[in-house]
């Protein structure tokens, strides 16, 4: 009888250690977004110049929505990736921004000094638009296809490859 028990205990132990190994090696900051596969919400507010704007997919063009802030150090390295991306893919996609909980003057100075890859920036001072999009922090990037469906969300500073992969996903 004792021997039969091992046929149960050993697989259970293997399963538990497997789960433990998976838990220890996976990145706790990588949380799959429930928004992937859902429609991008329509958000109303103002841009950096104070004009009333609607952030939503209206022009039927695949759109990259980048969440950034001037106080975010990682956004600085990402900014060069976005500038290169805007030059390379500018004809086939729209690149818009959500400026997240930022000082308006700092945000404007950032774009003047470093260059502006965005067609326009949604000004989200309260962070409410970010919350509506399940944003954890900055930078974050949404890839939205021309039907307005979010096909990918990256919660990290973009690299050239991540941007290219995301764009490939949304124009597929």
């Amino acid at each position: 009888m004792i021997r039969h028990i091992w046929w149960v205990i050993i697989p259970v132990l293997v399963l538990l250690f497997g789960l433990l190994a998976y838990g220890l090696t996976s990145n706790p900051k990588h949380i799959p977004s429930p928004l992937i596969g859902k429609a991008f919400p329509t958000l109303q507010g103002k841009d950096l110049n104070g004009n009333a704007v609607t952030l939503g997919i209206v022009d039927g063009k695949p759109t990259v929505v980048n969440v950034w802030a001037s106080w975010c150090a990682a956004c600085r390295s990402e900014h060069n990736v976005l500038l290169r991306g805007a030059r390379r893919y500018g004809d086939s996609i729209s690149l818009v921004a959500i400026n997240y909980k930022d000082e308006l003057s700092n945000a404007k100075r950032w774009l003047n000094q470093l260059g502006n890859p965005y067609q326009w920036s949604f000004y989200d001072l309260s962070g409410r638009a970010g919350l509506e999009l399940g944003v954890y922090g900055v930078p974050e990037t949404f890839f939205v296809n021309k039907q307005g469906i979010i096909v990918e969300k990256i919660s990290a500073p973009l690299t050239d490859k991540m941007l290219a992969d995301g764009i490939a996903l949304m124009i597929k």
Binding site: M1, I2, V8, I31, P34, S126, R128, L131, G134, Y136
Partner: protein, 160 residues
Amino acid sequence: MNLFIKIIMPILLLSVSSLIFAGDVNEDPLERKVLDIAAKLRCTVCQNQPVAESNSGLAKDMRAVIKEKLQAGRGEKEIMQYFVDRYGDYVLLAPPKSGNGLLIWLLPPALLLLAFYSAIMFMKSRNKEKVVTSPSPLSEADQERIRRARKAMDESGENE
């Protein structure tokens, strides 16, 4: 007069101050409800802290949204669902009792049952081993020798 200053005055003063304090702890039921809901939500930027206890910007925003939605007459379930739709099941401090979350709820009791079962099986098998090691029945010749020895003892009167 002396008695008044030494005993009655302090008592009067203390009773007045306690009345003031009692007024201060009167809590807002809406605020309490906000914290009740926030206690069930994970602050997503601080890993394992509830939204109710975190001072991070995101947690403050979430508490503000909870309050706003409560004031708009939304129920607790609806508000929790709002966050789950945007941040996933991860935002719930207690995993849902379905899908992968079910595994987390069922595995500990299942393992406990398995442990009990194997303990019982182990004890049963140990008892069985004892039965196997008990002496084999005596041969007819040996039994005959015992009978003779007992008889001899009875006859010599040494018994008892």
